[in-house]
Amino acid sequence: MRSPDTLTSPATRHRIPPQWWPWCSTAARLVLAGVWAWAGVAKVGDPDASVRAVRAYEILPETFVKPFAWGLPFVELALAVLLLLGLATRPAAWVSAGLLLVFVGATASVWARGLQIDCGCFGGGGAAAADGPRYLRELGRDGLFLCLAVLVAAGAPSRLALDNLAQD
């Protein structure tokens, strides 16, 4: 049994002072908002490329390809706006995490099936780069964004958010 003096304080355990956590959450929220904004804007400019990118995964039946490909960029933009404003922050972060999990699963599925595509995450029509697909990098990147989403969803309430006004 550990003696009381060997127990670490919460501050020591987290290494980051507790008062910093809301600011970490704020930074993660703003980064995530930027990611969604970038992804949405890149896709909105070329709806036909978005359709080809979704089709390239060979997961959705053709009937659902266009609704998904054309709805997704606006969902990403909506999440970007909500996260930027800090409105419905936790639900938006949970939906972000869910969406990122879907992306991770789809990319892993494509890799496992040996398909040669680009994820189309930030525009493009799904055509793999000349030097081949980059699944590991895409999974790592989405994993990082997923961690940010979970931090915002489950971590300390973030600062500079409209949610805070509603609570006051």
């Binding site: 359709v51 040669q116 493009g124 793999a128």
Partner: protein, 216 residues
């Protein structure tokens, strides 16, 4: 707050679908069918229509690997076509356009050249004088028209065809149809409908052997 998020997301999906549909070239394009010979995949067709073997290239004039393949297989392909063993279909795609229209306009210009009776010469010119970088602004309408002059197209209808994008809708439709077939990369080469690797296509001996095997 979940109700707010749900409402926003529903509006986003509906608005996104309607807006993107209004912007989609596939949905809005006017499709003009070329007068020249067209293969089963909508591409320009070269060679004897009764040749026993069909080689199909799904290509993009901006695609560097397509350009490399062209350098490697062009003499063999030309010989096989001349021998009457092969008819060749080129399906020009707009896979590499990223906020630009260079792939689209060059593929459409190649259809204009096919209607002017100079497809092969124009196709060779586009690959032989390919830019080193994609979406760089290299393939302007002026340059596409100049390539036509260089290969001996004198009919002013060609320049009008290029500048008006007469076959843009045709290329967009072919690109969408190709994507529905599960083809995501260029070049993709088919021999009698079966995909072959680019290494086989680029090897004169293996390509000739495959054509002989298919025609026997």
């Amino acid at each position: 707050m979940w109700w707010l998020l749900g409402g926003v997301l529903v509006v986003a999906v509906v608005a996104g679908f309607l807006w993107n549909r209004s912007q989609s070239d596939t949905e809005q394009a006017t499709v003009t069918r070329p007068a020249s010979a067209v293969g089963p995949n909508g591409g320009a067709l070269v060679g004897d229509a009764n040749a026993p073997v069909t080689i199909t290239e799904f290509g993009d004039f901006q695609c560097p690997v397509c350009g490399q393949l062209h350098q490697l297989w062009e003499p063999t392909l030309e010989q096989l076509i001349q021998q009457g063993k092969v008819k060749f279909e080129f399906v020009g795609l707009e896979f590499l356009d990223q906020g630009t229209t260079e792939s689209l306009r060059s593929a459409a210009a190649a259809v204009c050249a096919a209607d002017a009776g100079k497809f092969t010469e124009y196709y060779n010119a586009l690959y032989n004088q390919q830019s080193r970088t994609e979406n760089s602004g290299f393939l302007t309408n002026d340059r596409l028209q100049r390539f036509g002059s260089e290969v001996g197209i004198t009919d002013p209808a060609f320049a009008r065809c290029v500048s008006s994008g007469r076959f843009s809708g045709w290329v967009t439709k072919n690109t969408d149809t190709t994507s529905q077939k599960g083809i995501t990369t260029t070049p993709t080469v088919l021999v009698n409908g079966k995909t072959i690797s680019n290494s086989v296509a680029a090897d004169p001996e293996r390509l000739t052997a495959l054509v002989d095997q298919e025609s026997s």
